[in-house]
């Protein structure tokens, strides 16, 4: 019975930690658990799903890119709209110089958004995924800082731009503070995304479980869809969290770029 399988799976998962909904890999695992390939899929399901998202986005981009024309078709129009909006967003914060960061930041936004919307098994509900993205941002930000200030300028920036005697005396205090600040950025980026998306997924899972157990006395393969309002909430938070991740990354870049025009 499908619902009983679902309920059993949810109960099993609940004992391991955060409950999660079954996906097609889970069903494959239940049916053909002894096959090595299925075991591999089950063990690395987060990686598989994030690769699926990446491949989907690459194929979409390639197909649209191949058929581009002066008179844009439907798909080209949609993709151009997205790219233009992202470019405006990044350039609005970093200025026209910031256009070279649009590919990275835009990719981050689209990738995270698609992974959040993957629904039952968001790869972003796993700390490894979000931490990997945040570490990419961290290294790119440091590289940008070194490139725009030079090595000496970067070290000076980390020491809090000492100018007179008092600020030079404060350097031993400033350096650890700046280092901790830089290291806290990827931590907070990744934990925020992970916590929000995991919270959403757990909420949806709990309400699916409630809906299944509410009708379990009928022994029918249906439940009450209690989770529908929370799916809409998940759409909202998924968008906002992808936006926030991109926005904060953009802010971190802007802190590492020299700005005179203010």
């Amino acid at each position: 019975m499908l619902t009983e399988e679902l309920a059993k799976h949810a109960a099993e998962k609940a004992q391991e930690g955060a409950p999660e909904l079954p996906n097609f890999i889970t069903f494959l695992y239940h049916e053909y658990g002894e096959a090595a390939f299925v075991g591999f899929l089950h063990h690395y399901e987060n990686v598989i799903f994030s690769w699926m998202v990446a491949v989907f986005l690459c194929v979409l981009a390639y197909l649209v890119y191949r058929k581009r024309s002066i008179m844009p078709g439907r798909w080209q129009n949609a993709v151009e709209m997205v790219v233009e909006a992202l470019d405006n967003f990044v350039c609005g914060i970093l200025g026209p110089e910031g256009r070279r960061f649009t590919p990275f930041l835009g990719t981050l936004f689209i990738y995270i958004l698609t992974m959040n919307f993957l629904g039952m098994k968001s790869p972003t509900a796993n700390l490894n995924q979000t931490l990997a993205l945040a570490i990419c941002v961290f290294f790119y930000v440091q590289y940008t800082g070194i490139r725009s200030f030079g090595i000496v300028g970067y070290l000076k920036h980390m020491a809090g731009d000492p100018k007179d005697v008092i600020t030079w005396l404060l350097v031993p205090l400033n350096i650890p503070i700046h280092i901790i600040e830089e290291l806290a950025k990827p931590m907070s980026l990744s934990l925020r995304l992970f916590g929000n998306i995991t919270g959403e997924d757990v909420l949806i899972t709990v309400f699916v479980g409630l809906g299944v157990s509410a009708l379990s006395f009928l022994h029918l393969p249906v439940g009450i869809p209690f989770e529908v309002p929370f799916v809409f909430l998940a759409l909202l938070t998924g968008t906002i969290q992808a936006l926030v991740f991109t926005l904060l990354s953009t802010i971190y870049f802007s802190l590492m770029l020299p700005h005179e025009e203010h």
């Binding site: 930690g17 955060a18 934990l191 992970f194 929000n196 936006l243 926030v244 926005l247 904060l248």
Partner: protein, 77 residues
């Protein structure tokens, strides 16, 4: 009191306290942003941007408490 009982009581309680704190913070931030937007509707986009950054930073504190709950959840049963 076993440590499982202590966790089962205080994990949700700690999360609730953290959520209450950031709810106050969010309330102040959003109300100030709304006032500013009402006073200067032409600057609404910039104010909204700043508000979203601030809200994300405030909300992160609750999320840290939630992450603690996720980490320690397995130890309760």
């Amino acid at each position: 009191m076993s440590y499982q009982t202590a966790l089962a009581i205080f994990l949700p309680l700690g999360l609730a306290i953290a959520a209450m704190g950031s709810a106050f913070g969010l309330g102040r931030a959003v109300s100030a942003a709304m006032e500013a937007m009402g006073r200067q509707p032409e600057a609404a986009a910039k104010i909204q941007l700043g508000m979203i950054i601030g809200c994300a930073l405030i909300e992160a504190l609750t999320i840290y408490a939630l992450v603690t709950v996720f980490i320690l959840q397995g130890k309760i049963s």
